[in-house]
Amino acid sequence: MNALLYLSWNSARNRFLSAFRRVRSPRYAVAVIVGALYLWGFLWRPVTYPGATNFLLSQPSEMLITLLAVLTLAGPWVFGSDTTALAFTQAEVSMLFPAPITRRGLIGHKLFRAQMAVLINAAIWVFVLRRGGTFLPSPLRAVGVWVLFSTLNLHRLGAALVQSSIKQHGRAAAKRNWWSIVLFGFVGAALVTGFVVSRQELLGASGIGDFFVAVAHVLAQPPASIGLWPFHLVVAPTFARSIPQWQHAIVPAMAVMGLHVFWVLRSDAAFEDAALEASEERARRMDAIRSRRSIVVPKSAVAAKTTLRLKALGHPAMAIFWKNILCLRRTAQFRLLIGPAGMAIAFGAAMSSGARDFSLWVTATATTFAALLIVFGGRLVRNDLRHDMLHLPLLKSVPVGSTDIVLAEVASATVPIAAIQLAVLLIAYVASFGTERITLLPSTRLAILAGSPFLVLALNGALITIQNGMAILFPAWIRLGAAVSTGVEALGQNVLAMVANLFTLLVALIPPTVLAALTFQLAGGLRAERGLLVLWLPMVVAAVVLGLETYAAMLWLGRAFTRAEPLQTA
């Protein structure tokens, strides 16, 4: 067997067996049972009403997913590629880089390993989509999803290679890759032209559903459809509604995937050619590459030019909060906010499309963005125990109580997310006075604004505590570290994890909701003259109750943290 195949296969097998052996621990055994029930409920449970899946597989969804694929693929070109696409482990760097293996061989190894994640996530999506009332057998849908995810993964890898080449060889590399720049320029122009030409149709939509149908319609018509054509080829097999339709779609999709394989390998060859032209530069770069565990030239380390003041005396847990805020400042990937921001902008446009009301659009966009950050914030900001469990020996040797450590870690992620949410909610509040479509009384708006800091902190704190709890309780099963897996190949796993977190939050929200409803009734219900107090008080009560629940969870997690041992995170 090829040495790299041997490495991949045995690594995957041993990792699985190692994770499986954890089940001997009661905590992990309980987690397996809960996880199995969850997976059954989410993926296998028979559903009487397959409406949601049918909507996912509808023609408008197909066009919107195509647009999403274009945006995903354009991301590395517009905002710079993600170097983690080509990152290697320390062991791989130590053993493979000095070994007589070509650079192409290393990339092939990377591609092969990515396939494992692609296959797992393709399987998850096939289970999610199988509930749709379509006539396409699951294995055929699986092939379609696999082609889609593989192509997106290949593109991410190719973009990283091309940008690496451009960074190293400047104009010469840009000349070699001119066609990819022209392609995305053409796609962008086609989309913009399509939306401009059909703006009346979009602005005339009279609701959220209508708006997205109108967007899908615009995307399905020239000129946008011409720009989307190569991308639609890849998406089409997943959305095929019959076997003949799938057979018709799969060949072009596989051809696009094949072209991507060719492109990735061609980028590699071009790199080698250029590297030979400047051997001294190459040697210097490769040193940098090797020391930083990536075969692309990474961004230079974020210099510690500015810092935050930290007093030498005071509660020691503040030091952990300070450290984590510095971590966020120096490692934050702001481009991860683009997804939620894009969704919020689209939703805001859908809400205000019929009214042609800018203030309404701002209000809806800002409110949606704040709400989406509750869902996605914890995934984007990870400067807490999901990162620091890798430093467990250090954290456990410092003179700070375990609960204080958990509290400081949770606050490190909660406070920045809440700060962004409160800022956009303030924008929404101000903008809401510029539209007549929002009929809430000024006192009601003020009550919501005044109550939102409590609720936002409580909701984020609870959700971040859940995520940190997973890192403390199941460090062997959780991805630890600052990096978040952003590739589409991890989409299925991310969705599963996110839904599980939200479900846990929903359970935790039952007592606060009941008590808030009682407070609402006791405070006078919907009597308008007492609107401020009637809304503000239940919001604060809900936040306090949720905060107490979260604190109780932190005390429990603190005890679990005391028992956590470095071997568990190995």
Partner: protein
């Protein structure tokens, strides 16, 4: 300073450390030696409060590390063989972070001399990724020494240091001990142990096979008289004594 009684650490059925007892008084340097897998690092991690013993007690500066962990940890510094540093904190920020954790009020006056002592004075704003392996080890040592601990636990402290750094580290350990710090030093460098340590604890398969001054150990094993420390070590730690 350090008192360990019947320390045992089990991983399932496997005993990494079994019934180990020893004491380190103020100013003493205890050398912890043993072959790979003897339980040295597990013992040190139990002493530092990183892992909980399965049974037995560990007292640091009069505080039980399990029952009263905060004062116990405030009195000690644990410097592991592999420096655990935060990639995103500069050298100076590491020291300020540690200062806050341990409540070092006069950190301003300590940072300069400490970094000069460890030849890191010109690396104040550098991130760990910009430092060599040896410099990262020096930074970990600086973090350990900043709060002037009364108990110092060192796991292979010379790993990655250059000859000058090694000499300076030896001098630092000796100087700290002479000022009353209780030191535990785990190392495979037997000449270092022989040079610095006032007492020796030899572990084999999780158990203490010898404990005391070198003189006391040889007195307990007359056959080892006139042998080098290396021969003493190999004899005591041999799983099959006949083979040595």
């Amino acid at each position: 300073m350090i008192s360990v009684l019947a320390l045992t650490k089990l991983y399932g059925d496997f005993a990494a450390v079994r019934g180990v007892s020893f004491d380190v008084a103020a100013g003493e340097i205890l050398g912890l030696v043993g072959p790979n897998g003897a339980g040295k690092t597990t013992t040190l991690r139990c002493l530092a409060g990183i892992i909980a013993p399965s049974s037995g007690t560990v007292s640091i500066a009069g505080h039980d590390i399990q029952k009263d962990p905060i004062p116990a940890k405030r009195a000690l510094a644990f410097i592991p063989d592999e420096p655990h540093l935060f990639d995103y904190l500069s050298v100076e920020e590491h020291l300020r972070f540690i200062a806050r954790l341990y409540g070092v009020g006069d950190v301003e006056s300590r940072i300069g001399p400490l970094l000069d002592e460890l030849e890191l004075g010109d690396k104040l704003g550098s991130l760990p990724g910009e430092l060599s392996r040896g410099m990262r080890q020096k930074l970990a040592i600086a973090c350990g020494l900043l709060h002037d601990p009364s108990v110092l636990i060192l796991d292979e402290p010379l790993t990655g240091l250059d000859p000058a750094g090694m000499r300076r580290m030896r001098a630092t350990v000796t100087a700290r001990a002479s000022r009353g710090t209780g030191v535990i030093l785990s190392s495979h460098l037997l000449n270092l142990v022989e040079e610095l340590c006032t007492k020796l604890l030899v572990l084999r398969q999780g158990q203490a096979v010898a404990y005391g001054t070198i003189g006391e150990i040889i007195a307990a094993h007359p056959a080892l008289a006139s042998k080098s420390l290396e021969e003493v070590f190999l004899t005591l730690t041999a799983t099959n004594p006949a083979a040595t």
